[in-house]
Symmetry: C2
């Protein structure tokens, strides 16, 4: 989320952005999680097993494959269309057209935010069953961040597929139209 949740203001900011169903669901689950955490406070918790960590890795990668794929595919398609239309009139470079395509992709990201998640949670595996203590362990954090990084890398590379259709040709095309 965009808000820093460890401040009252950031937390309130975030709560404002939620719908009432999300707020009540989040409140119920937070209650559950914190009461388990308190109940197990005294217990020693073994670190997550390698199997659990792989699960956490994959669980976090899947939504980010979707995000990276859409982010890059939209950027390339929009950027190439901009280049071939107003790009020629304004004589802007391919990189400038790509930057405008990136704006289109960010705007789409704002609109799509809800859907990629919903899709991912249905596609994705159910959440790993870890105790509150295990959730906070560095192994779990590392698997989570690595999963997201690998997921967005796979997604971005897959999202380059429109280049096959556009190929490198658009630069030659542009030169023909210019000369």
């Amino acid at each position: 989320p965009m808000e820093a949740l460890n401040t009252a203001q950031g937390a309130r900011d975030f709560i404002y952005s939620l719908h009432s169903t999300e707020r009540s669901c989040l409140l119920k689950e937070l209650h559950r999680f914190e009461s388990i955490a308190i109940a197990q406070e005294k217990l020693e918790a073994p670190p997550p097993t390698p199997g659990q960590l792989r699960y956490v890795f994959i669980h976090n990668a899947i939504p980010f494959i979707g995000f990276g794929f859409l982010d890059n595919a939209i950027m390339i398609v929009a950027g190439t269309h901009i280049e071939m239309s107003i790009g020629i009139i304004l004589g802007i470079s391919t990189m400038a057209a790509a930057a405008l395509g990136n704006l289109v992709s960010d705007l789409a990201g704002l609109g799509l935010a809800g859907y990629v998640e919903a899709l991912a949670s249905r596609l994705g595996l159910s959440i790993p069953d870890l105790t509150p203590k295990q959730v906070d362990m560095w192994q779990t954090r590392l698997s989570t961040h690595l999963g997201k990084a690998v997921g967005v890398t796979i997604g971005c590379i897959l999202g380059m597929f429109p280049l096959i259709f556009f190929g490198g040709g658009e630069e030659d095309e542009k030169l023909e139209t210019k000369s």
Copy 2:
């Protein structure tokens, strides 16, 4: 957030991604918000004033100016460097180099996620004081989304400044190296 918070699984997923300080802060604020919401359930709430809506608009725009700026600036700088290095060896198009730059920018976004927020909340205005009912009104939702869209647009355009240094020249340079 990436998780769909209106499902138990999505909410739990999101809770797993939080640190313990964030969880306790969020729980406290959610409690506060929901108790006010229940207390005021019977009361009629006037819609937010235009001044409040402008405030909501600006409050949501500021962090996204930062996000859009970084997203585009990193994409352009990384994309241009990729183009001028492995791009020439592999003979990939500028758009392909931009797509790889976008991957770098997404990875940086994963890493920077916490900092842009923290910076924005310090820079940003304090949160608008709306009643729970006003938060859920369509006027507030519209101002929130418009603020984010306008913010990311301003940010992305400002983030194109590296092009001034790179200019369109890199295409001509590439042609020289190719011929």
